[in-house]
């Protein structure tokens, strides 16, 4: 398989990169001054693309790589892949579900706790020496608070299970009601937001869920409400979120993702009632290795004509 050309779209994981280099003829997208330069030189050599939540395989890339057979994404999210085009052209697509479910759900809870109990702000308070001059302030209790989850798939369910450990009443919104849960279903996000204090985005990003958190939802959540986003930046109307936080119409936010990563609205950097993370959802040593192994396993299966491990298309 050493002659098979594989394109790695970004430096997403050193172990993955190393293993791909050992098994295939590896091309690093970022080694080239521009996408056009790369396509001009190597378009006919690429039979597989390994993408991420940062750079996937969009229409331009798919059209530029006529020999592409498979896109193996180092993510569970597929929003950066033109799935329709892949299906039309018979290009297989795989992702990394399940292995990262726990870490992403853990992160949602970590963000809720850090935001409500002001952990990062407290840490800043101690490091600045301010504690010597006086006590910190009251923070918001988490146990027992109502949690609303948008999307009750693998990750949403895992978040619900963890929040139940804190005696939180759970409600949710999804495209359809899920049988077999004790959680309260709301047919609209606005209704969900009106009936919970902590709103967590845990659904896939599709054209329908773009800006699912908008001004109306934020207003329904209110000045004591908190938005937690471990989905995609585009789930949230970012300028609306920022102005609501700055104006105090929303109580706080815990954000792992942003509309235009790695750029973060400057106004957020000045706020104490937000926790901001550089897209670390699945970012643990253990899980990234599991994700990498899944990518490698899918590629190997494809080129050996075996069934794919986690096919999407």
């Amino acid at each position: 398989m050493e002659s098979i050309g594989v394109l790695l779209t970004s430096p997403m994981n050193p172990y993955l990169e190393q293993e791909l280099g050992k098994r295939f003829k590896l091309f690093r997208f970022w080694d080239f001054p521009s996408a056009d330069d790369f396509f001009r030189e190597h378009s006919k050599s690429i039979r597989a693309v390994v993408g991420s939540s940062f750079i996937g395989a969009d229409a331009q890339m798919i059209e530029a790589l006529p020999k592409m057979e498979i896109v193996s994404s180092f993510s569970v999210g597929l929003d950066k892949i033109d799935l329709v085009r892949c299906k039309e052209k018979g290009i297989r697509v795989t992702n990394t579900p399940d292995v990262l479910t726990e870490d992403v759900a853990d992160l949602a809870l970590a963000l809720i706790l850090a935001t409500l109990r002001r952990i990062c702000e407290s840490d800043r308070y101690v490091r600045s020496g301010a504690w010597k001059r006086g006590d910190f302030k009251l923070t918001t209790k988490f146990t027992g608070k109502s949690v609303g989850i948008i999307g009750l798939g693998r990750i949403g369910s895992a978040i619900a299970k963890r929040a139940e450990g804190f005696s939180c009443p759970i409600s949710y919104h999804s495209r359809t009601e899920k049988p077999g849960t004790n959680y309260k279903y709301y047919p609209s996000v606005v209704e969900l937001a009106s009936n919970c204090q902590i709103l967590v985005v845990a659904c896939a990003l599709t054209p329908e869920t773009r800006h699912i958190i908008n001004r109306e939802v934020i207003n329904a959540l209110g000045p004591k409400g908190v938005v937690i986003n471990i989905g995609r930046g585009l789930h949230v109307d970012e300028p609306e979120l920022v102005s609501a936080l700055v104006e105090g119409r929303l109580g706080g936010a815990g954000l792992d993702v942003f509309e235009n990563e790695p750029n973060v609205p400057e106004e957020l950097l000045a706020l104490d009632n937000v926790v901001l993370l550089p897209h670390v959802g699945s970012g643990t040593v253990e899980t990234r290795k599991d994700m990498a192994d899944l990518v490698l396993g899918n590629l190997e299966a494809h080129f050996l004509n075996k069934p794919l491990l986690t096919p999407v298309v």
């Binding site: 109990r117 800043r124 101690v126 006590d135 988490f142 146990t143 750029n263 550089p278 970012g283």
Partner: protein, 317 residues
């Protein structure tokens, strides 16, 4: 006043000596005044007849304090910890003591989990990184570590320790514990020796009371047993850990990280810790929520009322 059969006498309200005034003010003074007559610390000289004390926060109750209260029968402490109260003298004089940990246990447990998640997933460090503009410049933040499947050793399985265990089970952690005595109703594995607990854990959460036996219960032997990938979370008292040794272990990378809400000499925090990215530092804030304060007030009032009605205290230590 003649007593009427079957009804309580119209008595003067019970007298409570209020020892200390908290930094957030005495918010429930009105609720106390509607039920009891209050005498304050400043009036200590005239308190020789007082039978019950409400001790606010960590105001020390020393043997001198107790000496000035010869009629004292009961101390209702607002806080969870009672290491600021001269318990041996109380025991000698038969003074009953109640604490507030029932009111706080959920908040403290939440906080312990918050600190643990922050250390493992680098929440504060990642937030710092992002706020200093390093994400566009330096790229992705270094990876953290998964919580699921980790072995958590809880030191002290009282109200708070039990709540911590309940929460971490939902994250897929294994739980084991150490405490003075094994609890027969608890199914988690018990280790009589903290070193053995540490040797079989990836994470230690310190939730026990500070007593002469538990002073520096976490020392270099325990931390060595815990190992280089170990994480320590302290929501008990600073002196449960030998702070000097902890600092050394952290600076030298002999343990993975720590989340600390308490320190040996608050509000002083060892300078070396301020430089480290693998520690999360907190200004003794685990109980500081409006709900905890409300619950603490209710519990304190309930304990006082129990005392005056000759009923058992709700939360005796």
């Amino acid at each position: 006043m003649a007593a009427i059969t079957g009804e309580a006498e119209a008595e003067a309200p019970g007298v409570v000596f209020v020892h200390g005034s908290p930094p957030f003010g005495l918010p429930f003074k009105d609720r106390l005044l509607s039920r009891f007559q209050l005498i304050h610390t400043s009036e200590l000289a005239e308190s020789s007849h007082v039978k019950v004390m409400l001790c606010m926060d960590h105001t020390p109750v020393t043997s001198q304090t107790l000496h000035k209260l010869p009629s004292l029968e009961c101390i209702v402490a607002s806080s969870a910890g009672v290491d600021h109260i001269d318990l041996p003298t109380c025991r000698l004089r038969g003074i009953a003591v109640s604490n507030g940990s029932q009111a706080f246990s959920e908040d403290v447990a939440d906080y312990a989990v918050a600190l643990l998640m922050d250390v493992l997933r680098k929440i504060s460090a990642g937030d710092r990184y992002l706020r200093s503009g390093l994400w566009p410049a330096k790229g992705d933040y270094p990876l953290g570590w998964k919580l699921g499947g980790k072995r958590v050793g809880i030191v002290g399985l009282g109200n708070i320790g039990s709540e911590v265990a309940k929460r971490l089970v939902a994250f897929g952690c294994g739980i084991a514990y150490n405490s003075r005595k094994k609890r027969p109703s608890v199914s988690f594995p018990y280790y009589a020796d903290v070193c053995d607990l540490a040797a079989n854990s990836d994470i230690l959460v310190i939730c026990c009371a500070l007593t002469s036996e538990t002073h520096h219960i976490i020392n270099k032997d325990v931390m060595t047993a815990l190992g280089k990938e170990g994480v320590i979370i302290n929501v008990g008292r600073g002196s449960l850990i030998n702070e000097k040794e902890l600092v050394q272990f952290l600076v030298e990378g002999q343990i993975r990280g720590a989340g600390l809400d308490v320190f040996e000499n608050e509000p002083i925090v060892p300078r070396e810790l301020l430089e480290l990215d693998n520690v999360v530092l907190s200004p003794h804030n685990a109980v500081v929520t409006p709900e905890a304060f409300e619950a603490m007030q209710e519990l304190a009032i309930a304990n006082l009322e129990a005392f005056f009605s000759n009923k058992p205290l709700l939360s005796p230590i």
